[in-house]
Subunit: 367 residues, 2 copies
């Protein structure tokens, strides 16, 4: 897999050949792709540079004859989230190995910004795009259809959308969450907090209301909530809305919600966090109340990191295969650019639960 | 400052107007910028969409009459580093407020990839670019000069380069490091480890060798090393090469180097880390040796984060003004795009030392 190759021997891109030859990128692409007009003098320089750098037109480059800019566009919700940074790394490693450059636009989870981003990428004539979309239903996807109408293949990443004709790469959010909550239940916890749920503002009384609310928000969050409910169901534990965070999805929101939960008469003895900021907010609330993990509250979080593993004690976390997700999405996109015509498919990768030291049995409650 | 505005009321970009009008971005830019040909029918639709979204051509948009793509390019060394993610956020907030979209390319600290990235941005006709360059001297900057020769202004970010004619935005790395190490010295530490230094592979015997080595690597790292040496000098503490990490700049390199330092006969009683991965590597080494902070070793790190503040005890860290750096670099770039002709200047912002609980006096050594 490209993500694992030796960076020191990575194949040069069209851009690097162009730079070495001192010509524009378009001239290099035309020369190496063997299409369009390039002056004999420029052509000579490009070929000399290509030989010097060891550039080899790959099968993909040979298979397309015109109009290819050798650039992929990536639209991510939040470049500040290490999860998306890892994905971008996977994408750029794989696209680079195929001779493609990658440009990235971050949308801060705003559908408006996402529409603008897709417009920019169409305007910049990318050959394809990978989008982690903030859209939640078909009505929100005109901009993605617009890209496809421009002949630009789209691959969805991290979030699925119902009824859209795009290849999609996701992880098994629901099953990952179910496993994590089940681990807490197996350790003896019956009161498990869920941070974060749909940001509806006020606690939700019934399970049905909660699921209806979740469907109006981000797909990944909804799936993780479903996994939480699955685990409760499997164990016959009744739903309790006061254990589900419904505040704004920020670290501060998590801190407030967890503080409220821990001050309940019958507080949670374990908390499952679905985001990094949800976990740091949870830790902040516990610190302020003088509570320790795992003695007072057991913890499992989503999206492993170096920090999570150097915490004392180290945190049990779910690790998403970010590089692999980026690599697979790129592979699917390059396939479409190459002209593959198979029906769009959804590829679901497995996340891994890394057991460390933040889960133990609950204290016996003295009532 | 744009970074602080209410996102819910952020001004729409050209792309969003284009999307609303159902026209290409170029048509929207021509209509709103009042240049080039647009059919009356498209023009009508763009103006209606602009009114609906509340788009207002700003002073910048009015001041330039042709050829503006309303896109800024950003080249960062590593999008996976939260520092650069914060910077990109600052850039895109500010550029968006001025009606510009932002596209980002990550180069993994590779000068080759950076050359390619600049080529892509020239090819994509950005109006200007902000570059955190991996170049260390003038010879490495032909690609930046190439951008300028294409009429595309360049602003350097995070790292300066000698003798290049570009506006530059950096922080006071040297003074920040000096202050941090001075804080450790004031607490009574005379043996202060430095993680990480230039990756020359083997410990460096003399201070002169170390400085010569540092000048061949990244500017920020060299400045932080100079600040460390300044603090030692001010306190009259002699240089000891065995306390400076020279392994590869990775978390694993930091772990190995700190393990070696802590196993010295006369180990450091404090460690200053210049990167997040340097800090997590340091913590991993201490954990493996059964050492705690601040009792056994005092710690200060670079680049504050939520994780650093929820560690137990919370870590004393230097916080870089990432949003402000991104905003200022964008402001300078927009000035150049607008045609400002002042001599290029270097803008140095202050980083802040956030005192928490990872520094205390050294234990009295029983020898």
């Amino acid at each position: 897999m490209a993500a694992e190759r030796d960076r020191g021997t990575s194949p040069p891109t069209i851009s690097e050949v162009a730079s070495e030859a001192g010509v524009g990128r378009a001239s290099a692409a035309r020369t190496l792709g063997n299409y369009g007009y390039v002056s004999p003098e420029l052509r000579e320089r490009v070929l000399a540079a290509a030989e010097k750098l060891g550039y080899r037109a790959n099968a993909l480059a040979r298979s397309v004859s015109t109009g290819v800019s050798h650039t992929l566009g990536v639209v991510v919700a939040d470049i500040g989230n290490p999860f998306f940074a890892g994905i971008v790394r996977g994408i750029s490693d794989t696209s680079r190995a195929a001779g493609f450059d990658t440009i990235v636009i971050s949308t801060h989870e705003s559908l408006d910004e996402e529409r603008g981003a897709v417009g920019v990428l169409i305007d910049k004539r990318v050959d394809g795009m990978i989008v982690a979309s903030a859209a939640v239903d078909l009505e929100d996807t005109a901009h993605l259809k617009d890209a496809a109408d421009h002949g630009i293949p789209v691959v969805l990443l991290d979030r699925t959308l119902p009824h859209v004709p795009f290849d999609t790469v996701v992880i098994d959010n629901r099953e990952s969450a179910r496993k994590a909550v089940d681990l807490l239940i197996q350790a003896g916890h019956h009161r498990v907090g869920f941070v974060w749920g749909p940001p509806v503002g006020a606690p939700v009384a019934t399970r049905r209301e909660l699921q209806a609310a979740a469907s109006r928000y981000l797909w990944t969050d909804g799936e993780r909530l479903r996994g939480y409910l699955d685990a409760l169901d499997d164990a016959g534990i009744p739903f309790d809305g006061s254990l589900v965070m419904t505040a704004a999805k920020t670290e501060e929101g998590a801190t407030e919600s967890v503080t409220r939960m821990l001050e309940l008469e019958n507080p949670p003895t374990a908390i499952f966090s679905t985001e990094n900021d949800a976990m740091t907010g949870t830790l902040r609330a516990m610190r302020a109340l003088g509570l320790s993990y795992p003695e007072d509250v057991s913890l499992i979080g989503f999206d492993d990191s170096s920090w999570a593993s150097v915490m004392d004690p180290p945190l049990t976390m779910i690790e998403q295969p970010m590089l692999q997700m980026g690599a697979l999405a790129t592979d699917r996109l390059l396939g479409r650019i190459r002209g593959e015509r198979a029906d769009p498919a959804t590829h679901t990768l497995e996340a891994r639960l890394i057991a460390r030291s933040s889960v133990t049995s609950p204290r016996v409650r003295v009532t």
